[in-house]
């Protein structure tokens, strides 16, 4: 990784898109540099003091010219905006059917857990040509998950889920940097992404101690921590059932609707009073401080999974 480069490796689909705009911007910059610097240079030589150049009838302003050089850059700016915005929209929108990976940032390391349950620190092993979606959160300050080779970056904010996706196109090892200043060892909060061929990735998943899947961990927590005591069909408490909840609209007690996404589930575990489902009482205790960020992510993965399994199950007796 340590030869001389002027550009970082292009290792994801968005890397190409970003680079295209970047090179276009360089060309536009060169254009403006030419139209500004060449005349300056020319005038400085031709109209240097004492030169014999003709200085009669100087022009001290022209609204036509002004309108011209106001309009042209404006249009150019709007075009560049559109281009950047379209790419940005794609970078920020999480695609479907992605391989889910949970990432928790803390001072000063990245803790990664794959759907299959495998955990790693400051490393991220992923298969090539698969869309990878990270769900990120922080357990202390704001961090930022930055992979230059993929041209993606996303702040990792405590109390909040953010997401980031990429589709690696080239096997290899690339840097992970924390790019949001997060305290003393910020510069050492670095790691590497290892992009592997699918077979190698499958082999890698099997190495090391065998772990249970993230959904299985969540299910265990669901029973161990007493969630099932209320959120089950035969509970004596009146609590919403969670089967099929994920991604569905939920009517709230105050008359509004929310979509049951990751953030909603997280808030419901930690701040149950914030959004009460219509028809239920505010009786759930907060689990804030009783669950780690990883455990919350596991619980959510479990809740998602019981949503997914529900629909095929419906036809069964």
């Amino acid at each position: 990784m340590d030869q001389f480069h002027l550009f970082p490796p292009q290792a994801s689909t968005s890397a190409q898109e970003v680079d295209h705009l970047y090179f276009t911007l360089i060309l536009i910059s060169l254009f403006f540099i030419t139209v500004v610097f060449l005349p300056i240079l020319y005038f400085c030589i031709k109209y240097r003091r004492g030169s014999a150049a003709d200085r009669s009838n100087p022009l001290n302003g022209s609204n036509l010219i002004e309108v011209g050089w106001t309009t042209l850059p404006t249009l150019m700016g709007l075009a560049l905006f559109g281009w950047g915005a379209v790419d940005y929209f794609r970078i920020e929108r999480k695609p479907a059917n992605a391989l889910q990976v949970q990432v928790v940032g803390k001072q000063w390391m990245w803790k990664v857990q794959h759907a299959e349950g495998k955990q790693e620190i400051n490393e991220l092993h992923i298969p090539v040509d698969r869309t990878i979606a990270l769900t990120l959160t922080s357990q202390d300050v704001i961090h930022s998950f930055f992979v230059p080779a993929f041209r993606v970056k996303q702040d990792v904010v405590p109390g909040k889920y953010t997401s980031e996706w990429f589709k690696p196109t080239r096997p290899g090892e690339y840097h992970i940097f924390c790019s949001q200043y997060c305290g003393t060892q910020h510069a050492k909060m670095i790691g590497r992404v290892v992009v592997m061929q699918p077979e190698a990735y499958a082999r890698w998943l099997q190495t090391g101690e065998q772990t249970e899947s993230i959904v299985r961990s969540g299910e265990r927590l669901f029973y161990d921590r007493g969630c099932s005591g209320c959120h089950s069909p035969n509970s004596k408490f009146h609590a919403p059932l969670l089967q099929g909840l994920y991604r569905k609209p939920v009517p709230l007690a105050d008359g509004t609707m929310v979509t049951a996404d990751d953030q909603y589930l997280r808030d419901s575990i930690l701040q149950p009073a914030k959004q009460i489902s219509a028809g239920y009482d505010n009786i759930m205790p907060s689990f804030s401080g009783h669950l780690t960020e990883e455990e919350i992510m596991q619980l959510i993965a479990y809740v998602k999974s019981i949503g997914r399994e529900e629909s095929p199950d419906q036809g069964k007796p």
Partner: protein
């Protein structure tokens, strides 16, 4: 500008100083209790130079540490404190007061033919507040420093940082009020104290730019004050406004901080543009091209500048649609800056260009500002910003604007008005040498950082992957050249204040009202209030004048 009292004075014979100048009194008391805007400008000059020196030393230490990928000279903590010192002092204790409080204070009243600013006592208060705020900031450094970066991001600054955040925040808070007072003074002075005949569209463009700057100072700084207040109270009591565990929102801090700090970026460039708008016409002996467009561009920048703060937060998890609005507005704010550059360029056409030291700085300003401005487009473009945000690309970009732009403008202005301030001439040959040295040193220091940033080097890292080393070495080499470029003027300015040749009232044969009085000016600026009858920048390129100080 045709002023009634303007008389053609031959600078070669007019060697003596006016007998009574604002510098005549020498007691310490006469300085510390002065309400003379010119003296207050000079008090500011000395004060900001102290902070500039401290912050530059911090920068030098950082650049030396970065020579090697594994660092090794200092601990992470020391490095973090160094970049915090560098950022806070440079932004709030050097750049923001640099042109407005030093050059603005000195020349603004003279440029509009006034005897002083509208509120001279408040003006002095502003300097005392500045010193007081600076003392707090210095105190926090002496007690061990701050390690949050100049941006004070929460929840790090409120909950996690183990350093002297409160005293630093208090220092910036107090200095903020000095900025507000300066801004208020400038606005009122410009509105109410213009000389007879000096209509808005006859004002020098430096006044326009200071007016636009003052609007930002007055409207943005209070939000910063409130934000810093909330941070300090949050550290003391931990109520949780910025703490997600207690229901707070750390991103709210970023909105409040950038609502101030983005407009503040324009406090750190508009005055520089104003200086350049004075220098270019004077040294090409031509009226500025498109005067009303240049003046209105300043106002457009000030107004649009309030609407783009979210472009610092494209990856902060703010909504995608908010990001798009901030992006399109950021592209638009680039347009008036471009208009200024085009007009300066057009001014050179059919001029009679004198390559004096101030002109070299002005041309250097255009060059560096164009690069800084164009790389701003990269940052406004959403998808590219996702990649370069918080990398060295942004470091390079804003140094091109703030150092390449504002500091170069400040140096140009200081050389231009130095004969007015001291009544003495600086050695021209050394001036030119220093201007060229800073230009070359600056580019070598900061251009490699663009490449480094696109490669992915994050900011605020003192250890880094070895493949980035070559660019860091180039940058450090450039920084040492840049340092020489800044030390040279310091030496010859001090020398010239005592030993320089007498300047006479108007060594540049410039048209501004400030040149219609003696150098150094008398206590109340003018013997008679000047009356203005025409447009500014009434230069003629066809009439040859000799402005080379070496020939005087």
């Amino acid at each position: 500008m045709n002023a009634r009292v303007a008389t053609e004075i031959d600078i070669r014979t007019e060697g003596e100083f006016a007998r009574e100048s604002y510098l005549s009194e020498h007691t310490v008391r006469s300085w510390l209790l002065t309400t003379d805007h010119k003296r207050i400008g000079i008090l500011y000059l000395f004060t900001i130079l102290i902070f500039f020196a401290i912050a530059s030393v911090a920068a030098a230490m950082m650049r030396i540490e970065l020579l090697h990928p594994t660092g090794g000279l200092m601990t992470s903590e020391t490095y973090n404190k160094l970049f915090t010192i560098h950022g806070t002092l440079m932004v709030w204790f050097f750049l923001i007061p640099s042109i407005p409080a030093v050059l603005g204070n000195f020349v603004l009243p003279m440029m509009i033919g006034a005897r002083d600013v509208a509120f001279p006592k408040l003006n002095l208060t502003s300097w005392y507040l500045f010193v007081f705020g600076g003392a707090f900031a210095t105190w926090s450094l002496i007690r061990g420093g701050v390690d949050t970066g100049w941006t004070f991001y929460t929840p790090y600054s409120t909950t996690y940082a183990n350093s002297h955040v409160i005293s630093m925040a208090a220092g910036v808070f107090i200095a903020g009020f000095s900025t507000i007072i300066t801004g208020m003074n400038f606005i009122v002075t410009t509105h109410k104290m213009r000389a007879p005949g000096l209509t808005w569209f006859r004002l020098p463009l430096f006044v326009w730019s200071l007016y636009a700057t003052s609007l930002i100072m007055v409207l943005a700084t209070p939000v910063l004050a409130m934000t810093l207040g909330l941070i300090s109270l949050e550290r003391i009591w931990g109520v949780g406004i910025f703490d997600p565990n207690l229901g707070g929102d750390p991103i709210l801090f970023q909105h409040m901080f950038w609502f101030y700090s983005h407009p503040a970026v324009y406090i750190m460039i508009l005055p520089g543009m104003g200086v350049v708008s004075e220098l270019i016409p004077c040294f090409s002996r031509k009226p500025i091209f498109g005067y009303p467009w240049v003046g209105c561009a300043s106002m457009a920048i000030a107004i649009l500048g309030f609407l783009v703060w979210g472009h610092h937060m494209f990856v902060s998890s703010q909504s995608v649609y908010a990001g798009m609005i901030f992006s399109v507005l950021s592209f638009l704010v680039a347009v008036p800056s471009g208009v200024k550059v085009f007009n300066w360029t057009a001014t050179l056409h059919k001029g009679s260009i004198h390559f004096t030291t101030p002109m070299l700085y002005a041309l250097g300003f255009i060059g560096l500002f164009v690069i800084g401005g164009l790389t701003g487009l990269f940052l406004a473009a959403l998808s590219v910003d996702v990649h370069v945000h918080d990398t060295y690309f942004i470091i390079a970009h804003f140094h091109y604007i703030m150092v390449g732009g504002m500091v170069t403008g400040f140096m140009g202005g200081l050389h231009y008005w130095w004969p007015k301030i001291t009544g003495r001439l600086y050695p021209e040959i050394w001036g030119k040498l220093a201007a060229l040295t800073t230009f070359l040193g600056f580019n070598l220091t900061f251009f490699p950082l663009f490449i480094l940033g696109y490669l992915g080097q994050p900011r605020r890292y003192h250890v880094y992957p070895p493949e980035f080393q070559i660019f860091h070495v180039l940058s450090t080499a450039g920084a040492s050249i840049l340092g020489v470029g800044y030390v040279m003027p310091l030496i010859y300015f001090i020398w010239s204040a005592k030993h320089g040749r007498a300047a006479g009232p108007n060594p540049w044969r410039a048209t501004g009202l400030e040149w219609q009085t003696s150098s150094p000016p008398p206590k109340h600026n003018f013997k008679e209030t000047p009356v203005v009858t025409g447009k500014p920048y009434d230069y003629s390129a066809e009439k040859d004048v000799d402005l080379d100080l070496a020939n005087l």
